[in-house]
């Protein structure tokens, strides 16, 4: 598989807010490589550097030290900036801060218009993008009358209309209710599956990591865990010491193991967990 994004010894420091204040080191030598077509979840507490890392992926932030390569293109090369941002689109936390137009289709058309795409092609891209996020029927609606989950799907459609290879979602589900969160998650999973778009999802919700190919855990500006979700969540003690939690399924299995029950910590989903527990406890 080829590489979508690669960082080499990436560091980033936010300057002090005022003179004499302290600067903040957000990233300390991150080496990570994200495969094309993969679904990667990044976890970490506030201030762990996960949002900073995400913002270096499409050159919203440039490395303070080291490099970020997007499909081999160095984000430090100003000439490549437009090309890089067309490959990697971002969706941010607040749905109200990223919609620019008064009509849904105009909002989705914003990026391709700016890229100079011919108008018949824009029409097609907008329709395809809205279809991909399941919002076709809202094409002429006013965005401010939509729900949070619908707004985030419009924001995702706006990114897709640019035909990127990768979407980075920076806590894009944090302000949504469970239904809105479910809508956004199933949308990005489908885009990943059907269109092969690489997804990097940054979140505080451990359960959103369940279906990912890979989970990265950030702490103090470094990647401290990297693996399949089933593997990462077995490190219950370490995750808790970093101010993170594990899904309740794993918490239950962990406690049962402490009591001597032979259950695997890798039974992450509700059904897997129930199967594992039922197998370990004989029913009469």
């Amino acid at each position: 598989m080829s590489t979508m994004i690669e960082t080499k010894d990436l560091s980033f420091i936010y300057p002090a807010a005022e003179e004499g204040g302290r600067e903040t080191v957000a990233l300390r030598g991150v080496d990570v490589s994200i495969e094309k077509g993969s679904f990667v979840v990044v976890l970490g507490h506030n201030g762990s550097g996960k949002s900073t890392l995400a913002k270096t992926f499409n050159a919203v932030l440039l490395p303070g030290g080291g490099h970020v390569y997007v499909e081999g293109m160095d984000t430090l090369d100003e000439e490549l900036l437009l090309a890089i941002r067309q490959r990697v689109g971002m969706v941010f936390q607040n749905p109200d801060n990223q919609i620019v137009a008064n009509v849904v289709e105009e909002d989705v058309a914003f990026a391709p218009e700016n890229l100079g795409v011919p108008s018949e092609e824009i029409r097609k891209r907008v329709d395809d993008a809205l279809k991909a996020v399941g919002m076709s029927e809202f094409v002429t609606h006013a965005p401010h009358l939509l729900s949070g989950g619908q707004k985030q799907r419009i924001a995702i459609a706006g990114v897709i209309a640019m035909e990127p290879d990768c979407i980075v979602l920076d806590e894009a589900t944090a302000m949504l209710d469970p239904i809105g969160r479910g809508e956004v998650l199933s949308t990005v999973h489908r885009l990943n599956r059907e269109k092969g778009i690489t997804v990097v999802l940054i979140t505080h919700h451990m359960n959103e990591a369940e279906d990912a190919d890979r989970v990265l855990v950030m702490d103090d500006g470094k990647v401290v865990m990297d693996g399949a979700p089933r593997e990462v969540f077995t490190h219950v003690g370490e995750l808790r010491s970093m101010g993170l939690t594990v899904p309740d399924t794993v918490a239950l299995l962990y406690d049962l193991r402490q009591e001597g029950l032979n259950v695997p910590l890798t039974a992450l989903t509700v059904d897997e967990c129930a199967d594992a527990v039922a197998a370990a406890i004989p029913t009469r």
């Binding site: 506030n46 469970p178 918490a251 049962l256 509700v270």
Partner: protein
């Protein structure tokens, strides 16, 4: 226990007389006991926000009444301000409402408007700041220099400084990381325990509701779907799921275990309780 709030046949109609006319809440009746920790769940559009805005008089009922300490809050409309001092409402993302030059001044805004001055005002500000874990050094800073989690604590302190009898919180932990969520909920539990205040928590997080409240009110399409203790409500997990609501993950595991023939109490909703049930079953199984 006396009832601090009584809601009688509350209906609120938005856009009356227009094609968009809609009852956001319809004929709601329930009461809140003094000192209780009440959770309200229901998905977006179920009427939660409309309901809580009636409890301190931000919205006026289209019909029905809201009684605070037995008295209709709209009996004397000119005195509605005093109701807002007694029932504090913390909106979603309250940190967007910070505006003062220093944290101290921001927290002091509410109690100063209540007419508090001098030492009394200072005491309110400092005790509220302590309650949410803000250090004295933070009080002189600009609120805009703080991290997201700290800003939210300042906003909460601003309402706590008015020393309300009832504290209503709309999604207080949305957008915070797990440690931030737990810290904020601990502050709220402290207020509840140590000050004997009544707390009403609106949340989408079933786990947060399960871990904190004494009683739950479930709203669906402008009506009360059910109310009861967390045990009573989560025992009806299937109904909640059918209503499009979430249940705690533990409840879903317990339901899946019952489907697999294990006799798990349907009212189990915390990791610790489910573990207890399972360990008891293991012992029982070994005997047979």
């Amino acid at each position: 226990m006396k009832e601090i709030l009584q809601i009688e046949h509350l209906t609120h109609t938005y856009g009356a007389g227009t094609p968009f006319q809609r009852n956001a809440v319809e004929d709601l009746s329930f009461s809140v006991r003094d000192g209780e920790f009440l959770g309200i769940i229901g998905h977006t559009g179920s009427g939660k926000s409309t309901l809580i805005q009636h409890l301190n008089g931000l919205l006026k009922p289209t019909s029905g009444r809201v009684l605070l300490d037995g008295k209709d809050i709209w009996a004397e409309p000119k005195k509605i301000r005093s109701v807002r001092f007694r029932v504090g409402l913390v909106f979603q993302y309250p940190e967007y409402q910070l505006f003062e030059e220093t944290v101290y001044k921001d927290i002091a805004f509410g109690p100063a408007n209540m007419g508090k001055t001098g030492d009394e005002l200072d005491r309110c500000v400092r005790s509220a700041a302590r309650l949410v874990g803000l250090k004295d050094a933070a009080l002189d800073k600009s609120p805009f220099e703080l991290s997201g989690g700290q800003k939210r604590r300042v906003a909460l302190a601003g309402v706590l400084a008015m020393e309300p009898e009832v504290l209503i919180l709309d999604e207080p932990t949305a957008g915070l990381d797990p440690a931030g969520r737990e810290n904020l909920m601990a502050n709220i539990r402290d207020f509840h325990r140590n000050h004997g205040g009544t707390v009403i928590l609106v949340s989408h997080s079933m786990d947060e509701i399960a871990q904190n409240v004494d009683r739950i009110l479930v709203l669906k399409s402008s009506h009360i779907l059910m109310q009861g203790t967390p045990k009573e409500v989560f025992a009806r997990g299937k109904e909640l799921l059918e209503a499009g609501l979430d249940v705690p993950q533990v409840t879903r595991v317990a339901m899946a275990l019952r489907d697999r023939g294990l006799p798990i109490d349907p009212a189990v909703y915390t990791v610790a309780d489910l573990e207890k049930e399972l360990l008891a079953l293991r012992k029982g199984g070994a005997v047979c």
